[in-house]
Symmetry: C2
Subunit: 226 residues, 2 copies
């Protein structure tokens, strides 16, 4: 009922909740209380409380004991946060010499404080880029986001040429390891062998040589048929 027109400023917590709900429900389904709690490192009752508030202000739809989904208004707010985060990550790496494995925490705090104007100025200074340092698409100021279907390297067709597009983690240790082994967005990659039972994946990089990586990392490397 409320906030149909008024774009009330959201609290830091609300912004965090919307972001994780967006991620958890991005594959169409519901985000559950316990998943949200796990992602935000809070207790489930805290989530129940916030779900009530978010639902009251029309940002999410709540089906008791099932989970939540974003409303259009909620999705708009979530995409705004994601735009902020990704523009910040790119700006920090491009203009202030941050490493791609170190930007996440800084962006995480800044995204709640920056104005839309600053984000747009940063985006402008970078030439209105489409992707962040990890290859994730940056939503436009209007709230549109590119939706490309990408395949984890772990599930790619053996022998076929792919392009590594996105690295789906923010964990510094994993990111550092991947960068050291040349596994960054833009690389050409062909899987030459895949062991069964979640075994290692052998691949050829272009440019670059052979690599063998485990199942867990192969799951994070999102590719597109070349």
């Amino acid at each position: 009922m409320s906030a149909l027109l008024a774009d009330v400023p959201l609290s830091r917590s609300v912004e965090d909740y919307l972001k994780v709900i967006y991620h958890l429900s991005s594959q169409g389904g519901f985000a559950t209380t316990s998943d949200i709690a796990a992602m935000l490192l809070v207790a489930p009752p805290s989530v129940s409380g916030m779900v009530r508030r978010l639902s009251d202000s029309g940002l999410i739809e709540h089906v008791p004991y099932r989970g939540v989904q974003l409303t259009n208004q909620g999705r708009r707010a979530a995409l705004r946060m994601i735009r902020r985060h990704r523009v910040l990550e790119l700006y920090l790496t491009e203009r202030l010499q941050y490493d791609w494995d170190g930007v996440h925490d800084e962006a995480e705090r800044l995204e709640h404080a920056v104005s839309d104007e600053l984000i747009d100025r940063m985006a402008m200074a970078l030439g209105n880029p489409q992707y962040d340092p990890h290859g994730a698409p940056i939503p436009t100021a209007a709230g549109e986001i590119e939706e490309t279907v990408l395949v984890p390297l772990a599930e790619v067709e053996v022998g076929a040429p792919y392009e590594l597009r996105q690295v789906d983690t923010e964990d510094p240790a994993r990111l550092r390891y991947l960068a050291e082994h040349g596994l960054v967005p833009g690389k050409g990659v062909t899987v030459t062998e895949r062991q069964p039972f979640n075994g290692p994946v052998t691949l050829t990089l272009v440019p670059g040589g052979e690599r063998v990586i485990g199942q867990e990392l192969a799951q994070l490397l999102l590719c597109k048929r070349a």
Copy 2:
């Protein structure tokens, strides 16, 4: 008693209080409850409450019914915030085309979110500058700040050459007006006439010509004998 070693993260409010207490007590005296309340736009009892908390954590010294002063620990924290604010203001104007009259609000929000590392990187990118866009000195990362005695243009010796060093306001309207009339840090200025009873001040700019400004603005323009 607490926090002798632990550098506990401070809340947004605490940081704001420390900053205004620093400014209010910079001329040596005490910052009073009502002055703090007026600057932060909160009610006096809210200040009393916060003063208790700040005093408990050793950031200020409180003399009941007199006022408060920063402890060394409090001063260090306040100078850290001021460094953040001023580095941010300069970075935004130098690198992201903000006007000097528009940076304040953005810096005000960001200063609570940025890491020390980001501030140091920004400062580095700018060549470790000494002054912000308004001519105010930027404290070093170690917590030192330049203390130069500056004279308001309103109290300057008539006929003597001065250099305009600092513009002591963050009000966008006043800043815009001053910039339009060439009254920016670095300008040479000589007062040729001063009317009594808080009347207008006539001055000559180098480079630039004659100007007549009111007492209120003349009070904001801090100068040094050339």
